[in-house]
């Protein structure tokens, strides 16, 4: 007995009233903690901590082109994370956004390869984006069907469908959609001009001249606003929130559990698919077998980091994009190995989660 007690000398106790102030400030504090740990790590590796921190946090945003890259990276991440937040609020564990993003890219490509280049750009791009959203939504509807019809856990099926999506992508780009003039590379032909997302510089925003920034950032902001209204003021949003918080109360209200599951998965899948379409029609301009979006998984982090609220997710997506680009810069500026990038992201996440834990719990010494 006494041996066990001395091993567990500390315990976590839930705080009765987590401080609101602390819960708001914790992401900022996490940045400070990350910067401190990063600085210490740079010093240990024999590099200047200040140069490192500058490269990590400031260098990505000290020029228009830098900011443009952060925004380009943050937009699809934000779209995907907002979609996931809807599923998570419904207590539906969609962890397969990566696959839904890929399907979105495939859907958009299906339109892009088959639409005549005489079609007006706005119509063509709208069609491609809608096709992407539909493909992502349908891909996520598959787990909804399995869950509601056979009771199969969606955590498993959404994840496994990611690998199916990767195979589908590889088959399409090496088979039916391979560019005949592409020197046998596993990729489609480049899309026509009417199929690429307009760049802000081409739309007369001179501050963005020379950058790759396209209108995807607007989509992300629009998605955040619409989702916020949808979740707080629409009957379906209310139904999803209620189903997520208390299934019993949802039954009492008269909401069917399967409708909520279908809606949560289809909507989150559609937003992920939309993000994939934006990526393919934007920065990529073609579909490639080696395309690994990655943010399908990072979006899970972004969604929870943003406390599943659309407005905060915009901020968390920006933060994650900044750290992602910043750590690549660190790698180059200090000549550090590429593992530094993953390491820094890990440190950031751990500090955020650790601080969140301390907001909700206190550490107590067992007497």
């Amino acid at each position: 007995m006494s041996a066990r007690e001395s091993l567990l000398a500390f315990s976590l106790e839930p705080r009765l009233l987590p401080s609101r102030w602390a819960s708001r400030a914790s992401p900022l504090l996490a940045m400070v903690v990350t910067a401190t740990i990063a600085g210490a790590m740079f010093a240990l590796l024999g590099a200047s901590p200040l140069t490192g921190i500058q490269a990590l946090l400031l260098s990505p945003i000290n020029s228009a082109s830098g900011i443009s890259e952060v925004l380009l990276k943050a937009s699809p991440l934000c779209l995907t994370a907002i979609g996931l937040s809807i599923a998570f609020k419904t207590s539906v564990n969609n962890i397969g956004a990566e696959g839904q993003v890929i399907l979105g890219g495939i859907g958009a490509t299906a339109v892009a390869l088959h639409v005549p280049d005489s079609m007006s750009a706005w119509l063509a791009i709208s069609l491609a984006l809608l096709a992407g959203a539909a493909a992502g939504g349908l891909w996520a509807a598959l787990p909804a069907w399995l869950r509601t019809r056979f009771g199969v856990n969606e955590t498993l099926t959404t994840l496994l469908l990611v690998y199916v999506a990767v195979q589908l992508l590889s088959w399409l780009t090496t088979g039916p959609w391979r560019d005949p003039q592409g020197l046998n590379f596993p990729e489609t032909r480049l899309f026509n001009a009417n199929m690429t997302l307009p760049k802000l510089s081409d739309m007369g925003w001179s501050i963005w001249d020379g950058t790759r920034l396209n209108i995807s950032a607007f989509f992300a902001v629009a998605a955040a606003v619409i989702t916020q209204i949808f979740m707080t003021r629409s009957p379906m949003g209310f139904r999803l929130v209620v189903s997520g918080l208390a299934p019993r109360a949802a039954a009492y209200a008269g909401f069917s559990a399967s409708t909520s599951i279908w809606a949560a998965l289809s909507i989150s899948g559609a937003l992920s698919g939309f993000a994939g379409a934006v990526e393919v029609c934007g920065t990529l301009g073609q579909l490639q077998a080696g395309w690994v979006p990655g943010y399908g998984f990072t979006a899970i982090v972004a969604a929870y980091l943003g406390r599943l609220s659309a407005g905060l997710i915009v901020l968390s997506a920006l933060l994650l994009a900044l750290i992602d680009i910043g750590s690549t810069n660190v790698q180059m500026a200090l000549g550090l190995p590429s593992a530094v990038s993953a390491l820094l992201q890990g440190v950031l996440l751990l500090s955020i989660l650790g601080l969140d834990l301390l907001v909700r719990y206190r550490i107590r010494r067992i007497a």
Binding site: R233, S234, P235, Y252, A253, S256
Partner: protein
């Protein structure tokens, strides 16, 4: 004269505001199967926890084999030879049966040795035991057998069974009784806690009857007819209340031979439930909790639709197969027993909780764009707070921040605001302070006077007698005949609560 195995003398346990056990004395002879009978809240559980050692009494003595023991912790009582089979099993679902048993063995016993002993024990008492099965895959009956074997491996002299049949399907009960009888035949004593009189009559030798924390009687089962046990258990003369005359209108709710298919062992099967309620009338459902009340309300509210459409009729329209929304449209409103997570969501604000039960009603809370009319919702929720005297700063506070009484007043007000034809209320004042309870009861009577038909289920007999016009008793998923509240007497109530209303050809007594 034999010496009792255990004897309790004037054991008293007080909790703030209540006395759980008031000078209770009891003796159990070796080899006896001794029942402890009482309604919910009679003090049975506290008394058993005192014997088991997990609760320390404030006064009194416990004599074990003629020697007084000073209220010792469970490990000590365990070592003396007292074991308990709990109603809620303490098993690790992800582990195998053997691992679960092995965890409770002394450290020096090897795992293989545990297996051998458990096997021998199972064989001796005719229990089924699959040592390598994972507990999560076992039926409730099998899990109980694992618990029993785990308890028996400590070779206890006294074994406490806490309502062991509450969780068992009927076919598993016979086996359990055989096991208990063979334990007694070996000279071990058994304390059997229950409120099911038929079981006690067939299994036990003697009984201690508790009521309201006090010892009512010590009886030999042989010499005591079941009816007498029932009267002892429910006891006291029922109080009578004056009712203001209300005019009764046409039948608003008619339940006709409603039956159900249980989805799990824990669910009670409804069997031919029938009654009707008129406009302006309050029908009370009495009975020990877990007799099918929850299942009945699920089927009345539409959370569980019935196979037969005419099993439930609202104002003569069959609604049995309709969902919650359809029934709400037909005029059903419902105050569930559980406020947190069923009738309301603690994490949501009161106005959102107001919206919770508004879907399907004629009022639309959404504008032409499909967006919530925030202002009118707030005004309605605020009106509910005012009319039902809910103490809350405004409707933006979360439901979880309200006391039980205030939240219950809010829910009753919310349901009443829909001007329902039929109001279903489960445990209206469970966990509610006295002032709010009085307010809620008065409100229910006023709501009935406005022409609503009300069904109230409660375990508080006083409450039912105070507000109801007629009463029906539920037991084992069936309903008794319906009687006028004034015509209920303790003897009949006790019998009906024990499920004995089959051979009673009581004519239905209507109120004028």
């Amino acid at each position: 004269m034999n010496r009792p195995l255990i004897e309790l003398i004037n054991v008293t346990k007080r909790y703030p505001g209540t006395i759980a056990n008031d000078k209770v004395s009891m003796r159990v002879m070796p080899g006896a199967i001794h029942a402890v009978i009482g309604e919910n809240g009679a003090g049975k559980s506290t008394l058993m926890k005192i014997i088991h050692g997990s609760v320390q009494p404030d006064e009194g003595q416990i004599i074990w084999k003629g020697r007084e023991i000073n209220f010792a912790p469970p490990q000590h009582m365990h070592a003396l030879g007292i074991g308990m089979v709990f109603q809620h099993f303490a098993l690790f679902e992800a582990l195998s049966v053997l691992d679960n048993i092995h965890l409770s063995m002394p450290k020096e016993v090897a795992r293989g040795e545990t297996g051998n002993r458990a096997k021998a024990m199972a064989k001796r008492y005719g229990l089924m035991l699959r040592l390598d099965a994972v507990v999560g895959d076992l039926s409730v009956g099998e899990r109980q057998q694992v618990e029993i074997i785990r308890c028996l491996l400590a070779d206890p002299q006294l074994i406490i069974f806490d309502e062991p049949t509450a969780v068992l399907p009927p076919h598993a009960i016979d086996g359990l009784f055989q096991t208990i009888r063979s334990l007694a035949a070996e000279g071990r004593s058994v304390l059997y806690i229950s409120h099911k009189l038929a079981e006690i009559k067939s299994l036990c030798h003697s009984a201690t009857v508790l009521r309201g924390g006090q010892l009512v009687a010590d009886v030999a089962i042989e010499d005591t007819p079941e009816q007498e046990l029932a009267v002892l258990m429910t006891g006291r003369a029922l109080p009578s209340y004056e009712h203001l005359p209300r005019t009764m209108g046409p039948v608003k709710l008619k339940v006709d031979r409603l039956s159900s298919e249980p989805r799990s062992h824990q669910e009670v099967q409804l069997n031919g439930v029938s009654f009707e309620v008129r406009a302006g009338e309050i029908l009370g459902i009495a009975g020990v909790s877990g007799s099918g009340q929850q299942e009945l309300f699920d089927h009345l509210s539409g959370e569980r639709p019935s196979p037969r459409d005419d099993a439930v009729r609202i104002a003569d329209t069959p609604v049995g197969r309709l969902s919650v929304l359809g029934r709400r449209q037909a005029g059903v409103a419902y105050v569930p027993e559980e406020r947190h997570g069923h009738g309301a969501i603690p994490d949501l604000a009161l106005d959102q909780n107001y919206l919770l039960s508004q879907f399907g009603t004629s009022t639309s809370w959404f504008n032409a764009m499909g967006l919530l009319k925030v202002e009118s919702l707030r005004a309605a929720a605020q009106g509910c707070l005012r009319d039902f005297m809910v103490k809350a700063p405004d409707c933006s506070v979360t439901a979880g921040a309200l006391s039980g009484g205030n939240l219950q007043k809010f829910i009753v007000g919310r349901e009443f605001s829909k001007k329902p034809e039929v109001l279903l209320v489960s445990q209206p004042t469970w966990g509610v302070d006295i002032a709010s309870s009085m307010f809620i009861r008065r409100s229910l009577v006023e709501i009935a006077a406005s022409g609503c038909a009300i069904v109230v289920s409660s375990e508080d007999m006083d409450e039912l007698l105070q507000i109801c016009d007629r009463l029906v008793v539920m037991a084992n998923g069936r309903t008794s005949p319906v009687v006028a509240a004034g015509n209920m007497d303790p003897l009949r109530l006790g019998l009906w609560m024990a499920g004995m209303f089959d051979d009673q050809s009581e004519p239905e007594v209507e109120v004028a």
